[in-house]
Amino acid sequence: MHNVWLIARREYLERVRAKSFLIMTILIPALMGGAIGGIAFMNRSLGSGQHIAVITANTQFAADLQTELADPHGLNKPTIDAYPPSEPGIRDTLDRQLKAKGSTLDGYLVVTPAATSTDRPSFLWVPKVQSDVITRSRVADAALGALTREKLTSSGMSSAQIDSLLKPVDLEAGSGKSDHAGAAVASAYGMYFLMYFVILFYGMNVARSIIEEKTSRIFEVLLATIKPEEMLAGKVIGVGAVGLSQVAIWITLAVAAIKSGTIGQDVHILPSALQAALFVVFFLLGYLLYSSIAAALGAMTNSEQELQQMQIFLMLPLIFSSLVIFNVITNPDGPLSKACSFFPFTAPLIMYTRVIVGKPGVLAVAGSILGLIVTITIVLWIASRIYRVGILMYGKKPNLPEILRWLKYS
């Protein structure tokens, strides 16, 4: 144990003292925050139909269209230019305006009244950018809303009645537990990506540091005093502790920021103590599983390039997890979620997400943890065998039968 501790301590201190640790710790949240903020900011002005033109004889329709296009919070009031169809050459003028540089016009809508009053008018939409499907669908929605308003008005409803009828429906959470469904989903996503990133990053870190030791041949010196298993254990523990420290720093900062009210006043975004404890448990199990696979990959390969080819084996289950994560969040106790939360290679991420957003039950969580522990034991056994033989082999890249034979070596 003394040796494991020495190796782990060295790995930990060397990594935490490195400048890259500090940079990563600051840069990752900054980049993530910046990216999310930036995307949100850009999306606000993107395809929102801020300025459109309507060619219609019906001025009330143009006014209704403007009401419908305005967002519910009344933040951005769109500009609607209404032109009567009688105006000569109006479409040519608008076409030119669409092509003009610096024009804010997003497109124009031509409304042709129907032959009979019971039929719908037909619509022609000429956008500035053909691929702007967001504006297109918003205009279509707004046109439908305007038509509805027109019909309701003609059937004798007052505009106040119509407004209250057409306003968006607010769904309240029925259980009374928490009506911060959005916050729960956000925190589930947040924790998921945190775990995903740290497991992948630090798992690969283990593989890389094994390759580094192989290239520098330092392990020949180490193996003269300690067992390969101790080296492997020390490495996995040391690197894992670095990951955990980094996550702890981030979470502490995030909690401090939320508590002090700097970002988001929604305290419900914080996980409960039990959820936090389970985060640590699933993080550790996930990390152990993936880092021992990574250790085996590292021991099998001789260079970073070779490792990169093998990296896909490590990433596949993680990528799969991120493909099903949306399904899991929206349907946390459905069959797919259940299956993935028991499949050991996706269990750490998926079961933890289910713990936050669903109700997996104590037995299910315990079963998933047990399954993970069994899998980790098997993987560690295989990894330490491959590691033991693999680090002494160099030069030639081993093939599968050779690796299988390594498992039998004493």
């Binding site: 003394h2 040796n3 020495l6 060397e14 520098s216 020949e220 010196v221 180490l222 003269a224 002494l392």
Partner: protein
Amino acid sequence: MPIVELQNIRKVYDTKVAVEGLTLAIEPGTMFGLLGPNGSGKTSSIRMMIGMTVPDSGTVNLFGQPFARTALHRVGYLPEERGLYKKMKVLDQLIFLGQLHNLSEVTARKRSLAWCERMEISEAIDKKTEELSKGMQQKIQFIAALLHEPDLIIMDEPFSGLDPVNAELLMTTLIDLRKEGKAILFSTHRMDQVEKLCDAIAIIFQGKLVLSGGMREIKSRYPRNRVQMIFEGDDSFLQHPGIAEFKNYSGIAEIKLTSPEAAQSVLSDAIARGTQVSRFEVMEPTLEEIFIETVKGTPEFLAAGGKIHA
């Protein structure tokens, strides 16, 4: 009681036999040379000696006991492939390696500083390993192998890459350690390097022991039938019946005699013919010659095409 005792050890990697039936013993206070060409199984044997790999059959005894990992704290190992953590500072690195050998941090630090002074690399202590020259890194690794004052010191190709001055420094240090009663195992393919140093040797070839014993005893087994001569004038004495073969590099002759006794007769013949002899040396065979002499007839040697990269 021998420090190391290998009994009939054998190791096979897949289809390649790395070591076959190797038996040897290293006594305390000796410098032991494990010799052989590249790929003959020296490193494989050492790895089994220190438990890095386990022999398929045969036994390994260290310090008179069957191999146990606890004995490794009495072994210092300088591997052939040098390796240090590149980004770590020299002193931290030495302390870490010392701690792995069960030293306390304080002792490891104290000894590291003393050794760095002895090896004349004190100025490197605070530098990162990657900033140092190769020779310096080698010295650090050398120190790392000795920090815990091992009773058995294993040096795999210790002089490769060292300049003569530093090689000499290493050699004197090792001789001092031998005086203290430590056993030193040298593994090298450069047989000429260990000729002066070693008390006992084992030569392996293709995984098999071909020759072993005390240096003097081995050398005495081979006849002193080689002469090196520096002369001026008449070279007709080279036709003397006591000379089996000769090479004459105009004034410097390498002669192989039919028997050691012929030496005196050759010398007097040369003088009688009026040749000016400025040097006449009867030489003992070098290890390399003994090695080639020994393996010449073996099927392995013939299979290797009669060539040895010694």
